[in-house]
Symmetry: C2
């Protein structure tokens, strides 16, 4: 019974040894090491390796492990590795995969390869996969497995046990069997635990939970994840519009959705694709990141053109130019705090019609309080540094204005973007920074210009 006693040591160690063996060209040794490892550990090693090492490792991996490893790899690694395989090998490697995972892989293949993979499959597998592919991406349907085991309500546990023993096994992560009527409509669920602990004479109808919640096949995957999280589910039945059982969703796939959604918010706010490969090729990464930098260049030029409007003031008074970055900077940080809070609230499903106005009001108040506090502090700081009461007063007033606007903008921008069906996690940060930069510069330089005119 292996006990893993040290943080990351196990994989860290293997990784170092593997890399040494790889770079010394001891490929047979590497192959032997890989054979002894679990698929999830090999997946981790692939994720943590530069592209060149990945290709070599991929060649050395046992054919039989490939399906399991593909299952564990992230999207950005899976695609190029699969494309490098022949359709027959893909079909063979993926034969034992769950339908939902296989459909996921097929979706990303070029059309020609995809058709070849389908043709290399057994008829039964092909039908299963084609059905899975008919559900749109990022819905309950695309997360769903069709390998459900169903029971009729009027049999007793003894009969069920005989049936299950004859059947021989249950699909992975089965914790509940679904009870259906003749039209395949879900009547309830019976936990495996209850089948084991109740008397053999008990009728299924008496131990099934009739209040089991079904998931409509068109529900978005993020909402499915929220439901699993809130209700501590291990699996849940998926039904069509009429309540007919189509399949089931299991927690292992939901965990991936939760991770992806959370990464999406975090990476999106930093202007990155969430499927960017940490160890991917340089040129590809450079190009993928340039969209955000292009937008930022326009935002920065916009801010500069605001300063440009006040060129006269800046010429007259260089200290203004020196201090003019402080106000936008503080507004940006304050606004981003609010933005992160609201984006998380949207992702968790906490923010809706009924409380959005309240939330904006609250963040506006915080912005104003922040503004008061920081206008006083920056007033004191600038007074001490530059010994100029008027200048300190100008920057303090601009700070109050910009921090208040930052609170309002941080709360309302993601809500507006969401209503416009634009992803707040992706676009929110850039829109917000532009607002706080422009307002901050306008407030400070504008007030300074008004002051100098008198």
């Amino acid at each position: 019974m292996p006990v893993d006693n040290s943080e990351n040591d196990h994989t860290g160690h293997s990784l170092d040894q593997l890399n040494q063996a790889l770079s010394s060209g001891m490929f047979v040794h590497v192959r032997n090491m890989l054979q002894k490892m679990a698929a999830s550990d090999i997946a981790l090693i692939l994720e943590s390796s530069p592209p060149s090492a990945r290709q070599v490792l991929w060649q050395l991996i046992d054919q039989e492990q490939i399906g399991d490893i593909l299952d564990e790899l992230s999207e950005e690694l899976k695609d190029p590795l699969i494309r490098s395989m022949s359709p027959e090998r893909v079909a063979k490697a993926t034969a034992s995969m769950d339908t939902d995972d296989l459909a996921y892989i097929l979706r990303s293949l070029p059309d020609a390869v995809y058709k070849q993979v389908l043709q290399s499959m057994t008829e039964q597998n092909r039908q299963r996969v084609e059905q899975a592919l008919s559900y749109p991406d990022e819905t309950a349907g695309s997360l769903m497995n069709t390998d459900t085991v169903t029971l009729k309500p009027d049999v007793n546990i003894d009969v069920v046990l005989r049936y299950l023993r004859q059947r021989g096994n249950l699909p992975d992560t089965t914790d509940t069997l679904y009870v259906v009527d003749k039209q395949d409509k879900v009547l309830g669920g019976v936990r495996l635990a209850d089948l084991l602990t109740c008397a053999p004479s008990t009728t299924i109808r008496n131990i099934m939970d009739p209040d089991i919640q079904s998931i409509p096949v068109s529900m978005s995957d993020s909402e499915v994840a929220q439901k699993f999280e809130r209700n501590d589910w291990v699996s849940a039945p998926v039904v069509d519009r009429d309540g007919k059982l189509l399949g089931r969703i299991t927690i292992d796939d939901v965990v991936d959705v939760i991770r992806e959604d959370a990464e999406h918010s975090m990476m999106g706010m930093a202007g990155m694709d969430d499927d960017e490969d940490t160890f991917g090729p340089v040129l590809k990464s450079t190009l993928r990141r340039s969209l955000w930098l292009t937008i930022n260049l326009f935002a920065a030029l916009l801010a500069s053109s605001v300063s440009n409007m006040f060129e006269g003031t800046i010429e007259q008074f260089a200290t203004i130019a020196i201090l003019m970055t402080i106000v936008p900077s503080m507004g940006g940080v304050a606004g981003n705090q609010t933005l992160a809070l609201v984006i998380r609230g949207i992702a968790l499903g906490h923010i809706g019609q009924s409380n959005a106005r309240w939330l904006i009001g609250k963040e506006l108040s915080i912005g104003f309080l922040n503004g008061l506090m920081w206008s006083i502090l920056v007033f004191i700081a600038v007074l001490l540094w530059k010994d100029d009461m008027a200048l300190a007063g100008l920057i303090g007033s601009a700070m109050l204005i910009n921090m208040t606007v930052a609170g309002l903008a941080g709360a309302s921008i993601p809500l507006i973007l969401k209503r416009l069906k634009i992803d707040p996690a992706l676009a929110g940060g850039m829109v917000l920074t532009t607002v706080t930069d422009v307002v901050g510069l306008f407030a400070f330089l504008g007030l300074a210009t008004l002051y100098l005119m008198h």
Copy 2:
């Protein structure tokens, strides 16, 4: 069988109706509505309500539901609500909770209340909880439940079934029973599914999985979460140093850890506590956010003092002041992209000793390529705008320098912070922005000063 057919409609609807009833003072109606709702829905409503409404709702909730609702609430809501309850009520409401969840709640109570709650418990519960409290926070021990059901290896399924039927039920989220020897050391695991599908005469030893991985009680909760994610576990046994079974961890608690870790990265990068309450009180929120703003004020003053060093240049040439924010801004965005990627890589356990240098080299290359590309673009933009070849050249060169530094800093800062045991998600963004601001201003203003001197 309820089928939820529309996104968030179910709770959104109830929330609106509840709010209406609340604001019209129809408390009896609200109480009736709450009684019909699931604990997880009530928790969601509490999370989505302003503090005043929360207190009223809390008074109206059925005593019997309180334990289940507390279980679903986030930390920042749980604490104030529990503090408002009498110790006896806390003890009563939490009697049916899992040990790990109860220990989690007790940890956050003031000492006096905590002792009173313990005293109001039954002897057996108190012992269970005191043991759970002995494990440090954020370790496998603190996530663990002690309600494991164990089997001996030499009995057959028939005996096990008789034992289980006598026992009457199994703890929630049980998918595997652990097989232990006389010293309680874990020998393997038997899936409930196998107990149901194998012949009654089968000996446990023959169907148990002897390769089941145990989790050491001192493993960090983030690493536990990574293991669950990679291996698609529903539950896993927790053992002490000698391999003795102490308890088990279930996926529902792991999902919370995954969500919290991901939120921590996202909120941390925006300078927010991850346990900040979206609908919390204004004054508290203002104060919690001020640490980051204080640090940013110092960073902004530092950047201003860099500009201050070049006051003469700015006085001579106001256009420089107008353009000087572009270089730091682009460096900040590029650096943040790298930072987000590396922080995610650290969180996923993909970055270690063996590949850190490679990663820094890769991001440095991307930074340099980015720098080349953007220096050309900004050169063209400024040339078109200001029609000044020298100025365009200066800003282009500064851009190349700052983008290259941004790539290097974005990759190395989180790795250095991690080695210093400082949380990269929290401190990384601020350190990085300070570096890109200071280097960007130094490069542009310094080059301009050198140019003007000739």
